[in-house]
């Protein structure tokens, strides 16, 4: 079981000795992304194909004194061509990881979801943020804070399924899943708590995950205060936290990254290849860690 970002980086390198994954970066003119990818290449857990404006990408590499790495560059004019070419590399099997560079999330998602790309597996795509939080004894995943804006019942189950798959790929055999709610019991005062309870039950009955509980307030799920009042394997010890809204996940994850010492790894799962997606404002170590997580997912799924 991988418990820290260092574990993820080490596992990515271990898996790369079997087969090194190739990352296709759409919009590689972004110097932060180039730096992260170059670091991944130096650490020998991935190789890379940089897709974008070749002159600008070469300039970024020179500026960062990384031109000696001799990374493959694919010329693409504009955002559309960048995302299309990068996705094509994944469709052709030349790349096993897709990474967002200087392109909009919506553009790369559109290209990834295009039927002709052939990367959809009929599954829902969702974002999983895996955090190493100071004081928490293991990696903690939050979902979905970036893709599915208003999930229906089945989509909520699919979001859980995606997060459980990621957790298992990082070595959590039986992940504990907390579905957040505004109260710790289903109540008609807050209808979302009733849906949450139904999602928890459906995930259990369908065999997606054994340890799942909800609704739980964040306090009960994370601090385990509530576990003093009733028996729960999940409260106080979750591996995965699933919020009821995309905003809640997004805001909560940002609260950790801003106010707490924490490393963030973000990935979109559900397609044939993982999409490494980080924010422009993320520090380089988060971008590198995100890439390592994607490499572990790609390596373990092969």
């Amino acid at each position: 079981m991988l418990k820290t970002t260092s574990d993820v980086l080490a596992r990515a390198r271990e898996l790369a000795q079997r087969k090194k994954p190739v990352v296709a970066i759409a919009g590689a003119e972004d110097s932060d992304v180039v730096r992260a990818v170059s670091e991944a290449v130096k650490r020998e857990f991935a190789s890379a194909i940089l897709v974008g404006n070749a002159a600008k990408t070469e300039a970024a590499l020179r500026e960062l004194q990384l031109d000696s790495l001799k990374l493959e560059i694919v010329q693409a004019d504009g955002v559309q061509e960048s995302v299309t070419r990068a996705v094509e590399l994944c469709s052709q099997g030349r790349a096993q990881i897709l990474m967002k560079g200087k392109v909009a999330t919506s553009d790369i998602m559109r290209a990834l979801l295009a039927p002709k790309a052939g990367l959809r597996q009929g599954k829902l795509l969702s974002h999983c943020a895996v955090l190493e939080i100071e004081g928490y004894p293991k990696l903690l995943s939050f979902t979905d804070g970036g893709v599915v804006s208003a999930p229906n019942f089945e989509q909520r189950i699919a979001i859980v399924e995606n997060a459980v798959r990621v957790a298992r790929l990082i070595g959590v055999g039986e992940p504990k899943v907390a579905l957040l709610g505004v109260a710790n019991q289903p109540t008609t005062d807050y209808p979302s708590t009733i849906e949450t309870a139904a999602v928890a039950r459906a995930c259990f009955v369908r065999g997606i995950v054994r340890n799942i509980e909800g609704p739980l307030t964040f306090r009960a799920a994370f601090a385990g205060k509530y576990s003093e009042r009733f028996s729960s394997d999940v409260a106080g010890d979750p591996d995965i936290v699933v919020s009821h809204t995309i905003e809640e996940t997004n805001i909560t994850v940002k609260a950790f990254t801003k106010f707490r010492r924490c490393t963030f790894m973000g990935v979109i799962t559900g397609a044939r290849v993982p999409l490494s997606l980080v924010s422009r404002a993320d520090p380089p170590e988060n971008k590198l860690a995100s890439l390592a997580l994607a490499a572990v997912i790609a390596g373990e799924e092969q």
Binding site: S149, A183, E247, E248, K258, R280
Partner: protein, 263 residues
């Protein structure tokens, strides 16, 4: 503003009877008795306890009402409303090592924010409270997961008109902007990096999450994981109710001070 300012401002207030609802350790109230105040316990049903406590309390005599150890969702549904008061509003204040001033988080759980009249009334309640405490021109960030108005993300649809109202001066000196990600609300570096134009500029005084779940998770994520001091108050009842985020002596004392200043 820091908690030391709140404490200083409440120092001259009378100390009357503290009416306590919920589960609280007796010793956590020592600060009140040391000031010469009395404690009156209510140990029944939360709803009837709050009703009785609020009916008895006379703020002009230094009385205060405290509620703790009860889930937020339960308390909100039990608070009796004052005449013509806007929706019940929870206002939390956090003093964090990673932020240079008090960070306020507010939300009206029963408010339909898609109703612009109700939403602006909720904001006005929070803004007026901060102004009463000395923050003349609070910066209010309406939180979401994106910075653009996005039809799929419903909160952005009610947040944008409120920001527009602010731009036209409808919230007085307060600056309201949204939708904004949390990073843009509290990090000037993120604002520079993402090149988003916002008058909040990463220096928000007040965060307004888009839903009750986000409010609870945000306050707890900030509180439960780091060094902090915090206080909370419920507005919209006949008397502000001290509502400490955690039942610790420091949270309780700060919350009672805060409530006494918002009468």
């Amino acid at each position: 503003m820091k908690f030391s300012d709140v404490t200083a401002a409440s120092a001259g207030k009378k100390t009357g009877s503290l009416r306590v609802c919920g589960e609280i350790e007796k010793t956590a109230l020592d600060f009140w008795t040391k000031r010469g105040g009395k404690i009156r316990w209510f140990k029944g049903d939360v709803r009837s306890d709050l009703e009785a406590a609020l009916a008895e309390a006379k703020p002009e005599d230094g009385d205060a009402v405290l509620c703790s150890g009860v889930d937020d969702a339960r308390v909100v549904s039990c608070v009796p409303r004052a005449d013509r008061a806007p929706d019940v509003t929870i206002l939390m204040a956090l003093e964090l090592t990673a932020y240079p001033k008090l960070l306020w988080i507010g939300f009206s759980p029963l408010c339909d924010y898609t109703n612009i009249v109700a939403a602006s009334a909720s904001l006005q309640t929070m803004i007026a409270s901060l102004q009463k405490l000395g923050e003349a021109a609070p910066r209010v960030a309406l939180l979401s997961c994106v910075e653009l108005v996005t039809p799929g993300v419903k909160s952005t649809l009610w947040q944008a008109p409120l920001a527009q109202m602010s731009a036209r001066g409808q919230f007085g000196k307060a600056c309201v902007d949204g939708p904004l990600g949390l990073d843009l609300a509290v990090s000037p570096e993120a604002v520079r990096e993402k090149k988003v134009k916002t008058d909040i500029a990463g220096e928000a005084d007040l965060l307004v999450p888009p839903d009750f779940g986000s409010f609870l998770s945000l306050t707890d994520a900030v509180m439960l994981t780091g060094e902090h001091r915090a206080a909370g108050v419920i507005l919209g009842a006949p008397v502000p109710i001290a509502f400490p985020p955690l039942a610790t002596p420091d949270h309780i004392e700060r919350s009672v001070e805060l409530a006494s200043l918002l009468v």
